[in-house]
């Protein structure tokens, strides 16, 4: 079972954890990507995330299916936030349940790696010297 969303709302990882918990799972692994203040000594003031929402959700569903197929995972919930995010706020959260811990870790790691690789979401970094789209040639 999977649940994915791209949302403007604050992410509460508790809801994801509750959603994935299962009587036959002994393991829940979660990952949260949060807004970091300093990267290589450069200060970030805040970020703005933009998504191609329908496609992003569709890709996240696909990643969810992959996790459930490739690993012995039972449930996965993944939410990515868009809009303005301040330092410390959660940009993405994933929770994965599995009977055993190895699978929960692998599934969760796989999900965030794939999200960062393929899901059409972009961040614009606002720093002390102005703003730029991260990783873009634009």
């Amino acid at each position: 079972m999977k649940h994915v969303a791209v949302t403007q709302e604050e992410i509460d990882v508790r809801h994801l954890i509750e959603w994935v918990q299962d009587r036959n799972c002994g393991a829940v692994c979660t990952f949260m990507g949060t807004v970091r203040e300093f990267t290589h000594g450069k200060r970030t003031l805040y970020l703005e995330y933009e998504a191609y929402q329908e496609m992003a959700e569709k890709m996240m569903e696909k990643i969810g299916d992959e996790v459930l197929e490739k690993f012995q995972c039972t449930k996965i919930a993944a939410v990515h936030r868009v809009g303005r995010l301040d330092i410390g706020e959660v940009a993405v959260a994933i929770a994965v349940s599995a009977p055993h811990r190895k699978d929960a870790f692998q599934g969760c790691r796989y999900a965030i790696d794939r999200i960062k690789e393929f899901v059409p979401i972009w961040k614009k970094e606002y720093g002390e010297d102005g703003s730029y789209w991260v990783g873009c040639n634009c």
Partner: protein, 85 residues
């Protein structure tokens, strides 16, 4: 073979969306491949060639190959290198 002129709407995101607009219309022949569409975009926005070339192209929310044919009503999007998470 008669080629009909039509317009394809292309969604743009991130820096590219800011630069050329979030939804651009490109006049095309009725039959066009993804790589042909990319060349039309580049000739329309030559100053953004590098950034257009760095994009993947999605048709109906799926990444597609260069050879994919675009059909009327398809939702086309230019996907710059993603940076979510």
């Amino acid at each position: 073979m008669i080629k009909l002129q039509t317009k394809v709407k292309v969604l743009c995101f991130a820096g590219l969306g800011e630069a050329i607009g979030k939804c651009v219309e490109i006049p095309v022949d009725s039959e066009i491949s993804v790589s042909e569409l990319r060349e039309r975009l580049i000739s329309t926005y030559p100053e953004h060639e590098r950034s257009i070339r760095s994009c993947m192209i999605a048709v109906n929310h799926e990444y597609v190959t260069q050879e994919t044919a675009i059909k009327t009503g398809d939702q086309i999007a230019l996907i710059p290198p993603v940076s979510g998470g």
